[in-house]
Amino acid sequence: MSLLEIKNLHVTVGGNEILKGIDLTVNAGEVHSIMGPNGSGKSTLAQVLARRDAYHVTEGSILFEGKDLLEMKPEEAACEGLFLAFQYPVEIPGIGNTYFLRSALNAQRKYRGEEEMDAMDFLPMFKEKLKLLEMDDKLMNRSLNEGFSGGEKKRNEILQMAVLEPKLAILDETDSGLDIDALRIVAEGVNSLRSPGRAMVVVTHYQRLLNYIVPDFVHVLVDGRIVRSGGKELALELEERGYSWTEHEPVGARA
């Protein structure tokens, strides 16, 4: 059984059809990259997978570990092991980062019938993950994402992923707004989380991130359809020839 199986997915937002029949299969251990120009539907796909409400699935199906993902609430999908690293992480005043993350972890553990983790067990584990992302633990005493720089917010997303240990992580434009050092740190964090039991879908605009997080598969999304799929070399080709090239050649011609 595949970890994620998307079939003929059609999605509208505010009456406009954004995704026009997506098929995608992701197995445990694989890293897939979704690339595409602005407005092609990359982020929509990420949000639909995370079960955001404003997106209406008009056709098709999504199975997550064989279960109907479209029947799940966002928190259920999260507890089943689906994680979205947001393109624009929100700020929430008055909620400490550490407190938030422990609450989230415990909500997930509870859902899975595991024992909740107390602060004594949580902290050492948390400190390890902080080190991994080279994050200052002073940040953790602040409110959730409040006053964080763009780079700190993105790192915080990966930190949360490291703590929550999802089965499927969707990284939505995690590279945007990162300088080269931050990009390296984030990529190293992500790479350290690659494992045979975990899959990742990396949504990105640029090939740059894929120099650091090397995908097993690359898919090109144009105007709501996957127009081309291939190995990591496809990303390089895209970088060289631009997206417009994919639109003029038949799907599968070079894959």
Partner: protein, 485 residues
């Protein structure tokens, strides 16, 4: 509307858990108000002559006013006229004799408090919290009396104070809130039946948190309690009150008065967790909470700090205030007020700066959900002699849904040019993106909403005594159930 927001709506509609009625025998007097009723109340309480005179004086003042003109009309709340002759002004659980220990309290009443989560039995008490419980009009039990007496602290019902410490009562009663202050204060002065009295002698730091629990049980009664706290030179006391009432279709009037007096270098912290019955989700029933609370920083370097968490009542009308008379005295007001369904709140504070270098801080957090209307009303007055006075005011509003309202009326009056005033205000809505973010990490919608609201209120909660901060958070979550519109 999204399903998330639906869940938030449902959450805000959670039921009032404290709405039960305890079946006990009451000693109540006939409805209505007259000089005879005042005399009857005073006689029932076997009060000394001076108290009766004081009451009658207040009653005559109150009765001499034309009701329609005298009731404060400026608040941003609406309600039908109150029939003051339709209220019973005294109701007490029937007791055979004076109680010597808590074991003698009617077990039904004790069970009620237990249901409310306030076990009176001392062994079950929260460590270091002494509780005075006021059931309808009468104080039924005061715990930890002996331990407090050792420290020299007097903590008892108001009635007992009138009997045992008349000189203190005489000296301070009405010294901060005179009966002429306002319509409801006058009514309270005439008919108040009990309340709490605290006296902390010179240099004593009260060894535990003091707490009063108010419960309205009887139907068609009003509750008019009166609290007086005096902290002598260098004394410190922290006091907390909580309140609940049964669910009833008619509105019930609660008109309390609280007076605080802090002498040189004394500190009084007064915290309220107010959870009177708010009425049902259509706005039927609920308590009218018309309360006058004021503290006087009489001495130099004295400090009075009010913290309130207001989640109950159909209508809340209260402005815990500070008169900063002593030089260098400090007044603080930290408030969370939540209105859901058809609740209305007009609340805030007054900071009157008289002394030099006096300082005040106001942090108000209003949360509106459902059709709730939430008004912050504050006054900061810097008088001529208050050289070097400072005020910081922050009032924030959080809206949940699109049928509720938040209103802010800050008044500032400065008569001394050296004053420094700061005012910040912000209004925000719980965003769907915030909710989604928390849900995506595995939190249920209701937990996500509580988390956001608690984050919003954090500045105030951290002012509450530890044990009660947790209570307040839970209460807020429950009060919000079923809220967004």
């Amino acid at each position: 509307m999204s399903t998330d927001m639906n869940v938030v709506h449902e959450m805000a509609a959670k039921d009032y858990e404290w709405g039960f009625v305890t079946d006990i025998e009451e000693d109540r007097i006939p409805k209505g108000l007259s000089e005879d009723v005042i005399r009857l109340i005073s006689a029932k309480k076997q009060e000394p002559e001076f108290m009766l005179e004081w009451r009658l004086n207040a009653y005559r003042y109150w009765a001499g006013q034309e009701k329609a003109d005298a009731e404060p009309k400026w608040a941003n709340v609406t309600f039908p006229p109150i029939n003051y002759q339709g209220i019973t002004y005294y109701s007490a659980p029937k007791q055979k004799k004076t109680l010597n220990s808590i074991d003698e309290v009617d077990p039904e009443i004790l069970r009620t408090y237990e249901k409310l989560g306030i076990p009176l039995a001392e062994q079950k008490l929260l460590a270091n919290v002494a509780v005075d419980a006021v059931f309808d009009s009468v104080s039924v039990a005061t715990t930890f009396k002996a331990k407090l007496a050792e420290a020299g602290v007097i903590f008892c019902s108001f009635s007992e104070a009138v009997q045992k410490h008349p000189e203190l009562v005489k000296k301070y009663l009405g010294s901060v809130v005179p009966h002429t202050d306002n319509f409801y204060a006058a009514l309270n002065a005439a008919v108040f039946s009990d309340g709490s009295f605290v006296y902390v002698p010179k240099g004593v730091r009260c060894p535990m948190e003091l707490s009063t629990y108010f419960r309205i049980n009887a139907a068609e009664t009003g509750q008019f309690e009166r609290t007086l706290i005096v902290a002598e030179e260098g004394a410190y006391v922290s006091y907390l009150e909580g309140c609940t009432a049964p669910m009833r279709d008619e509105n019930q009037l609660h008109a309390a008065v609280v007076e605080l007096v802090a002498l040189d270098n004394a500190t009084i912290r007064y915290s309220t967790v107010q959870n009177w019955y708010p009425g049902d989700k259509n706005g039927k029933g609920g308590i009218y909470n018309f309360v006058t609370k004021r503290g006087k920083c009489l001495g130099r370097n004295s400090k009075i700090s009010w913290t309130q968490v207001e989640t109950g009542s159909a209508i809340t009308w209260k402005y815990p205030s500070c008169i900063l008379q002593g030089d260098n005295s400090v007044g603080e007001f930290y408030s969370v007020a939540l209105t859901n369904n058809y609740q209305q709140a007009d609340t805030g504070t007054k900071m009157i700066h008289l002394g030099k270098n006096t300082k005040s801080t106001i942090v108000s957090k209003g949360i509106s959900a459902g059709h709730g209307q939430n008004t912050y009303r504050g006054m900061v007055k810097i008088m001529k002699g208050a050289t070097g006075a400072r005020n910081y005011t922050q009032c924030d509003s959080l809206l949940i849904g699109d049928k509720c309202g938040a209103h802010t009326f800050p008044y500032i009056e400065v008569k001394n040019a050296s004053a420094r005033m700061e005012h910040e205000a912000a209004t925000s809505k719980i965003g769907e993106d915030q909710l989604f973010y928390l849900q995506q990490r595995g939190l249920k919608t209701e937990d996500a909403v509580s988390m956001i609201v608690n984050g919003f209120c954090k500045q105030v909660f951290k002012e509450l005594p530890m044990e009660f901060a947790v209570e307040a958070q839970k209460l807020l979550a429950v009060s919000l159930e079923g809220s967004v519109g």
